[in-house]
Amino acid sequence: MVVGDISTGTDVLVIGAGPGGYVAAIRAAQHGLDTTLVERDAYGGVCLNYGCIPSKALITGAGLAHEAGNAEHMGIHADPAVDMEGLGGWKDDVVDQLTGGVEKLCKANGVNLVEGEASFADENTVRVAHGGDGQGSESIEFEHAIVATGSQPIELPGFDFTDEEVWTSRDALAADTIPDRLVVVGAGYIGMELATVFAKLGTDVTVVEMLDDALPMYESDVARVVRKRAKDLGIEFQFGEGASEWQESPDGGIQVVTETEDGVESTYAADKVLVAVGRRPVTEGVGLEAAGIETDDNGFIEVDDRMRTNRDHVFAIGDVAGEPMLAHVASHEGIVASEVIAGEPAAMDAQAVPAAVFTDPEVATVGMTEAEAEEEGFEPVVGEMPFRASGRALTADHTDGFVRIVADEETGLVLGGQIVGPEASELIAEVSLAVEMGATLEDVGSTIHTHPTLAEAVMEAAENAQGQAIHTLNR
C-alpha cells in the first residue's frame, strides 16, 4: 500500500523517542497538549536499546557469574558457565519489556506515535519519511518542536564500523559469543563498563587509552580504585597510546596498532576491537537549516536554560543538545522543555547533575569536586569514609572505595560528593538531594541512617568533614 503525502497538525512535535524525547512527549501530553512523537528506529532510543539498559543487564549477568566463581573464601564453591546466547536472550527480553512499556506509556498518556524519519521542511513543518518500500511520507505542522535525536559513536580513522572485527558499543552488547581476546580503545565509561563485562566473562582484555588513566574524567584517587580492580580482573592497560589501525593477523585474529605521542608503535593481538572514543550529536538529515536552527562548533544544538534553540518555538534536549550526555539529563531536559511549552515556570536549574559509571566498583558523582569548589571561590572542607570501615561493605564482601563529601567550610552547605564503591550509583541519590535542598553537613550527619547500610558511609563522611566521625579517625 502506498500512503500518499498526508498532512496533519500538532501542538508539540517531538523528534526521537529516546529518554529525552519520550519523556518530553509524555509530559507535554500530561499538560493536555496535542503531542506527536516521531521515531525512525526503536522506542526508547539508544539508552533502552543499545546503551544503558543492555549494558547494565550484561553487567549483572557477568558480575553474578564472576562473583559466584570467586567465592571460595566464603565457603561457596561454584564453577559457573555462561552461555552467551542465554545471557543475550535474557538481556533482549529486558529491553523488549522496557521498550514495550515506553510505547504503552506514550499511548496511555495520549501521545500520537509516528514511525519514520523526521526532517524539518520549514520552521513549522516536518516531513516524515516512512520506512520500507513505497511507504510514502507525511507532513506534520507544529506549534512547537522538540529535537531529541540523540547521539552516535565517533568513528576513529583506521577503524571502519562496517567491518565485522570492529565493534561499536552496540555491537559489543549484541555479541552472541564471548571473544577470546578483545582490545578496547578508550577508557571512558563505556569502554570501562564493557571491558569489565568481557573480562568477567573470561575474555583477555586490553584497554588502550591516550590519556594516562582509566576514567580520566574523574579524580585520580577515584579512578585508581577502578583501575586497580580492573587489573585484578586481568584487564591490561596501555596508557599514553592512541589506536591508529587494525590488520588481519595470520593466526586468524586481528592486530590493533597503536602509537604514542612520540611515534612509538605497538601491536596487540585480538579477535575484536571495540572503539569507544566518544559520541557525537545526530543532526544529519534532520533539516535543521530549513528551520533555521543553529549548532555550535561541535555540532550540538545550542540551547538556553529553557532548552530553547535560537528559534523560540523549537527546543532541543538530550545528547543532541550537548554535554553531559546522560539519559537522566535528557529526561530532565525533556520535562523542562515540555513544561516551558505548557507555560509552566520551569528551567534547567539543577544544582546537582549526578553521573554514574557501572564498573566494578561503581563510581558516582554529583555537584562539585574539591578542586571545582575552590575554582568557584568556596573554601571547601572535605570528609571521607572508606568502605573498608563499613560493616555493610564488609558483610557484602565489597570493601573497595570510599565516600567523599565536599562542603563549604564556613556555612557547612554541601556542594558535592564523589563515591567509588558498591552501589555508588544508588548512594549518590541522597547526596544529590542534599545538594539540591541546600542541606548542611550537620543535616546529613545527624539524619539517622539504617545500620548496617552502605548509606551510613555518606553520614560518616559528613561527620568526618566536621571532625566528629565515629568510624574513621578525624583529621
Binding site: 557547612g412 535542598m437 542541606a439 548542611t440 550537620e442 543535616d443 545527624s446 539524619t447
Partner: protein
C-alpha cells in the same frame, strides 16, 4: 538556660535549624516557616528568637 522541650508532633525544619532553636531557647513549634510548604529555615528561627527576645522583659 532551661532545656526547650522537643515538640511531640511533626516539625518541618532541617536538623540544623532544630539544633539552633534549642541553642537559642526557641520553641520550634512556635516558629512559622517561610520555606516551601511552610518549612522552617534557620533564618526563621533566628528571626523568631530576636522578635521574642525584644518583647521579653529585662531580667531583674
Amino acid at each position: 538556660t532551661a532545656d526547650v522541650e522537643t515538640p511531640e508532633g511533626r516539625v518541618f525544619a532541617p536538623p540544623s535549624a532544630r539544633r539552633i532553636a534549642r541553642e537559642l531557647g526557641v520553641d520550634i513549634a512556635a516558629v512559622s516557616g517561610s520555606g516551601p510548604g511552610g518549612r522552617i529555615t534557620e533564618t526563621d528561627v533566628r528571626e523568631h528568637a530576636e522578635a521574642t527576645a525584644s518583647v521579653e522583659p529585662e531580667p531583674t
